[in-house]
Symmetry: C2
Subunit: 248 residues, 2 copies
């Protein structure tokens, strides 16, 4: 395991609507899956309101603690879209109408015969020196500043931006996982599973209870960066479940 | 508005599976809806792994900042269920096998002719002096310590615990909301909507773009604790959309 490289990340989802329950977030689960696939460990997620101080505090805490920070939301054209200003403030940079973004958006609205209003110009705002994250869906770019990747909240746009971004990221050794389904609840497997975990310290074994309205079963998920360690733990988890079955 | 009372809350969702993407969280959106309904402002959500230090840091940050903190996950019987210990550590309390919880669980397993294993006894662990949150689904209680409410991660159990808990909470003046659907994207409404917001400072107006694969429309959500202020802003938002329609 000497070549194992760990790369960490956090997500900051921004938006009043996520905290009022009006909108159910779809970006967190998607980002989590994508990062797991490419070998980046998502360690923490925060959801905050469209509130400058809350955004600044959260992004400053997260960007110092993790290798990458991904944000969603608040980069549209309306008065409650304040993420670009908050990012500039967090980094001590000016928030400007980025010339390249102004060009991109201006050309797009001209092609479509639409007015490039002051509201639409807001979508070109970003901290001075920020690098664009292309938006293949609706043109207005996201941006990167330092280790923070600022993306849209609309899931189709968030996902498209993430797709353009991921190939460029520094990644780590992917975590492999195997799921063993147990017909027994956590109360039955908790004792022996603790033993299995103790015997396989290179793996991380989680158990996730499921309730079908009558009784509990459990998904046992074994995770490891090393395939041999993973397989060895899987053998022991499977043997553990067979032993419980035979004792009944 | 002199009688307005603001009560704030945060949520801490605990579990590796939420950060790996294996499980899509269902509790955050549910809690957000329920709190909005009874007049508690959910201000921040954090998701952390089954990691003692991460849980302790997060709960200590949140419980000092908000009136109520709700947690989900990590109170089952397996080795990766460490929430009770983490809460005890955060509050500087001993984590004990709560006598009343031991009795409840012992009686339940006896009725069902099942062994009260060491793993199952783990579900009775909580910080000394904690107050039970009843679990009508599967007996093992959640608990309250200080202003922190510790609940299960399985959505059916989380929701049932929350239902028993909510009537006892101090709540604030509920936020009322009205949604006006705009067939125009945010670029068209952004300018005039900023004006409307400026003229209605007692309300908070959010705009939420929707993308149907071809074009954007917008839901405009007006929120206020005062019904008269809400209605006045709604009139102006509706008039704004009619003005845009007539200008085309």
């Amino acid at each position: 395991m000497s070549n194992t490289r760990i790369v960490t990340a956090a997500m900051l989802a921004i938006g009043d609507e996520l905290l009022s329950g009006r909108t159910k977030d779809k970006n967190i689960g998607h980002l989590a899956e994508m990062l797991t696939m490419i070998g980046i460990d998502l360690r923490e997620v925060r959801i905050v309101a469209d509130d400058e101080e809350a955004i600044v505090d959260a992004v400053n805490a997260l960007r110092q603690r993790y290798d990458h920070v991904f944000t969603s939301g608040g980069i549209g054209p309306t008065h409650d879209d304040i993420t670009a200003d908050a990012m500039a403030k967090a980094f001590g940079l000016n928030c400007i109408h980025d010339p390249k973004a102004m060009e991109l958006l201006g050309a797009m609205y001209e092609r479509r015969g639409m007015e490039f209003t002051e509201a639409r110009r807001r979508m070109a705002r970003m901290p001075a020196g920020a690098i664009h994250i292309p938006n293949p869906v609706s043109t207005a770019p996201g941006f990167r500043v330092g280790n923070v990747y600022v993306m849209a909240g609309v899931p189709q746009v968030f996902q498209a931006m993430l797709d353009t971004l991921l190939p460029s990221l520094e990644t780590g050794t992917p975590v492999l996982s195997r799921t063993v389904r147990s017909p027994y609840g956590e109360g039955d497997i908790g004792g022996p599973l603790t033993e299995v975990q103790r015997n396989h310290p290179e793996t991380s074994i989680g158990s996730y209870p499921k309730f079908d309205g009558k009784s509990f079963s459990t998904d046992i998920v074994i995770r490891a960066r090393d395939a041999v360690a993973l397989a060895a733990a899987e053998v022991d988890v499977t043997a553990m479940i067979e032993a419980i079955a035979q004792s009944r």
